[in-house]
């Protein structure tokens, strides 16, 4: 079953604005990861936040995690046209040796120049 669900499904902003995407999930997790997918390409890992972390930064990216609400957000500051892509959250709820990420259906971000 689908674990992570992103919100909104689509987001369109002007270059320079901030973009916020949210992810909700259902079961307890080991970590939550955000990936980006440019049109026609594979997914690229952006950032991982562990279940005992509340906030993490990487360049213009800021991720928060609220395990009590089972939600995460990805903030992209000072957006650029090159940030246009689909963004997916993926939850790791695995136990044992079988690592498994469960992906949502993504947020399509369009940054207008």
């Amino acid at each position: 079953s689908q674990q992570g669900e992103e919100d909104p499904q689509a987001l369109s902003i002007q270059e320079g604005e901030n973009a916020t995407m949210n992810c909700s999930y259902k079961t307890s997790i080991n970590n939550l990861q955000w990936y980006r997918q440019n049109s026609g390409r594979g997914l690229v890992h952006l950032i991982l936040i562990r279940s005992n972390e509340r906030e993490k930064h990487s360049g213009r990216l800021r991720v928060t995690l609220d395990t009590s609400k089972k939600s995460s957000s990805l903030l992209i500051t000072a957006s650029r046209a090159a940030d246009t892509a689909s963004y997916f959250c993926a939850t790791d709820s695995s136990s044992g040796s079988a690592r498994q990420l469960t992906f949502g259906s993504g947020t399509q971000l369009t940054v207008l120049p």
């Binding site: 390409r41 562990r50 690592r99």
Partner: protein
Amino acid sequence: DTAVSQTPKYLVTQMGNDKSIKCEQNLGHDTMYWYKQDSKKFLKIMFSYNNKELIINETVPNRFSPKSPDKAHLNLHINSLELGDSAVYFCASSQHAGGFQETQYFGPGTRLLVL
């Protein structure tokens, strides 16, 4: 150099045919995966292999058979293709199966269209 590569990039075929998609990773990773991404961009895991051994096999029709000749390769063979198999198939790899905080590295995808 491409870390995770897939061939072919595009695959158009008739219903009922058998086809294979190849995946190779040069990262020295132990674990490889196959995902299916549907038209709504929902990405679902199909298989996971660790050191050539199957460790995850989601509910996938047995027309799909993964084969791992060595830990750098995980190929996907599909028999008797159906219209519903049309999707983008992604191969991915990660360093270890048992460690936490594992990120996955994805290939560019194979766009399969069954007519």
